[in-house]
Every structure is written in structure tokens, then in C-alpha cells.
Amino acid sequence: MSGRVIVITSGKGGVGKTTTSANIGTALAKAGNKVVLIDTDIGLRNLDLLLGLENRIVYTIVDVVEERCKLKQALVKDKKNPNLSLLAAAQTRDKSAVSQEQLKDICEKLKKDNDFILVDCPAGIEQGFQNAVAGASEAIVVTTPEMSAIRDADRIIGLLAAREEIESYKLLLNRVRPNLIATNDMMSVEDVVELLACDLIGIIPEDTGIISSTNKGDPIVNDEKSLAGQAYRNVARRIMGEEVEFLNLEEDKNIIGKIKNFFEKTIKEIKAKI
């Protein structure tokens, strides 16, 4: 078996990298894949909390690198899904504790008996980012429809594009709020895609359920009713190669927005004909 190594990155912090990692990882594992999540945010780890595994960690990636334990010993099995395991970051060290080569090496080893290795990248473009990207051949760039997040995502896309090892990179648009888009207070999905000129792999609506799922340590993909959970499950299916339509998030668009949209479209068509 040779697994795919996908890095989940964003540049800006707080856009939902870790949430995305936890959810895509869980969704892939639920679909029957063997998945390892690697938290590379050494010193500021959080992935363990989102998965509710913080009380089970004995060894971390730093212990593996410094040969205090074997890689296998450091993998923490998920509570619900035996297909999913976590390689936690050390909380009491910093980014310099692991090198690019070491991370690459770990990814290579994990590839042998896993379908997917998801690398949760720290914010920023410094060593932590360089490390996380080192072993990956695919990337998911997480962003939100906000100026700062988009700008940082653009920077990241530029850096990823410059790396030969990265064969593909896709955009995941997080925290989309259809009601704000309808009133033109938020950039639309199309706007962001156009600005960043990058293929989409998913659109995740803002969902307050994310907060409680984080607090419970149970990723929202496990909630069958949640729209965000559905969106993450769709992302997982797309990663697995399925063609899945993007969720229609604009149903609750207000009536004025609808009328305006209709007219604007028509006007565009007319103009084009003149």
C-alpha cells in the first residue's frame, strides 16, 4: 500500500485548519480508509483536543524523532474509529524539534500501511510550514471569505506552486455564510475562487455546531444532521476521487437578493448581446 500524503495548510491562523484536518481525517476513516493524522504544530497542539484524544497521548512526534519510542507506539488510536490514528505534536517543545527530513521520513514510513496521511500544518510560513509540507505530495489550502485569510492563502498557494513535490493543491473555503453573501456583505465563493485562481475541493458553511463539537472532542462529521458535517463528508469523497456536487448553500437567500441576481444576470446577457 502506498498512501497519499496531504498537507492541510492556510497561512493565516484561525481559519479552521485543525478542524478541517480532524473532520476530513474522520470522514476518510469512516469511509473505510486507514488514516493517520499528524499534528505538526509543535508547542501549540490542538488536534488531540478536537478528536478528544488529549488524555491518551503517551508519546509524541518528538519522541519518535528523538528515538524514545517507535513510530507505532506513538500512534494514538481514535476512540470511535480504529482506522483513524493520531500522531500528536509535543506541547512542551518548539518547531525546531523536528526537521523536514525527519518529517518526510515519518510520512514515508506511514505511507506503507495507510491510505491517507493528513498533515495538519501550523499557521505561518516559517519552519513549521516548511516541515509540514516536506513529506506531502498534495495540499489543501483552507481559507475563509475574508481579506486577510485570502491574502495569506494566496501567499501559501504561491509557495506550494513553487514546490515540485506538490502535485496538486486545492482550495477549501471555510466558514461561508450564505446570508452575508446574499446581502453582498461577504465575498462569494465565485469571488474567492476567481481571486485565488485555484480549484475548489470544498465549501464548508459556518456552523455553530463546530464549537460544541470541538468542546466535546467529537468531529462534526460524526453528526449526520449537520450541514458542515455533510460538507466535510463530501470533501472526503472528492479526495477519494468521486465527483460530488457542491452543496447548495444559497437556499435561504433573501427575496431581494434573488430578484437582484435574476436581473443582474439578465442585464449581463443583454449587454453581451449589444
Binding site: 481579506m147 491574502r151 506552486a161 453582498n184 436581473f263 442585464i267
Partner: protein
């Protein structure tokens, strides 16, 4: 057709006051971001970009009547290549006479300027260096300006309207071949 546009305007003049204030949030964000991303991607300063935009307008308006406000200058990334995209709404193509006049006037102006101010040409040449790292050049200096082809318009006015075709036809005669709106 006009019935439709009228209707649209009538209906939406009703919403306009509100629209002007609020609906622009997204557009403001979009255009701000466009500019910022362009700078980030190319390392060009806003000043240089503004200058480039100005010169492009000057240059192109010799041949066509443009909607200057709506000219869009954008760098787009495709793979590891950055392309300069120009989008210029063309109001009307100029006829040959007008073009000749404009060129003469321009040459005259530039001549005076050159005598007056020596910094100016330096800056422009520097700029074309920056934007032409990958061989293809954007030519904007006064002398070369004459040789700009319709090709540029083709790129720029791409999605606008059929006038563009006319412009292209007219301009091919006077064109040399070297300019293209792409730079890396």
C-alpha cells in the same frame, strides 16, 4: 432590450440608496484584495502599478476610446506562471485620423517632457524590466508606444463586446509584433 434595462433601473432605483451603502462591502473587499494580491504576487509597489495603469490608459486611448474608470489590471496565477490580464471596456474605436492626431500629440508631449524631466524615462525603463523577467515585454515607452498592436486589446477587452473585433482589425495595420500583455 432597452425596455428591459429601463425596467431594471426603475425597479432598482427603488433599492439603490440602500444598495450603494451596503452592497458595496463585498465589491470593496474584492477590489482591495485584487490590488493587494497583485502586489503580493509581483512585488510591484502600488505606485508603480498606478503608473503602469496610467501609461497603459494613455497608450491605448490613442487608438480607442476607453472607459478609464473600469480598466482592470490583474495578475493571474496559472501553475507557476503569472499572467498580466487587462480588461478594458472599449466605448468606441477611433478612426485613422483621430489616431494619427493622437500619436502626433503624444509624441509632441513626450518630447517636451523628455526635455523637461530626465527622471521620467528612467522610471519607465526600470518598470519594463521588472515586468519582463520572462522575456515577453510590455512596451510602454514613448517611442515604442506607436507599435502597440491590437493584440493587447484582444486580451484586455476579451469579454466585453464586439467593438473589440473592429479595433483589432483597424490596429493590425499599424502594429508591429513585439508587444503582448503578458509578463511573468
Amino acid at each position: 432590450m432597452s425596455f428591459f434595462t429601463d425596467f431594471y433601473n426603475k425597479v432598482f432605483s427603488f433599492f439603490k440608496p440602500q444598495e450603494n451603502v451596503e452592497s458595496n462591502v463585498k465589491d470593496v473587499a474584492r477590489s482591495r484584495l485584487k490590488l493587494v494580491l497583485m502586489q503580493d504576487r509581483t512585488n510591484l509597489t502600488p505606485k508603480i502599478l498606478e503608473q503602469m495603469r496610467g501609461e497603459l490608459i494613455d497608450l491605448l486611448s490613442k487608438y480607442v476610446e476607453l472607459d478609464k474608470e473600469l480598466l482592470e489590471l490583474n495578475f493571474e496565477q496559472e501553475g507557476d506562471q503569472v499572467a498580466l490580464m487587462l480588461s478594458i471596456p472599449v466605448i468606441r474605436a477611433k478612426d485613422e485620423k483621430e489616431i494619427e492626431e493622437a500619436i502626433k500629440k503624444d509624441a509632441l508631449l513626450k518630447g517636451i517632457k523628455l526635455a523637461d524631466d530626465e527622471d521620467e524615462p528612467d522610471e519607465t525603463s526600470e518598470e519594463s524590466e521588472v515586468t519582463s523577467e520572462n522575456g515577453e515585454e510590455i512596451t510602454q515607452t514613448a517611442e515604442e508606444g506607436e507599435s502597440v498592436s491590437g493584440e493587447e486589446n484582444q486580451e484586455s477587452a476579451a469579454d466585453n463586446n464586439e467593438e473589440q473585433a473592429a479595433v483589432e482589425n483597424e490596429q493590425t495595420e499599424s502594429s508591429d509584433n513585439e508587444s503582448s500583455p503578458e509578463a511573468v
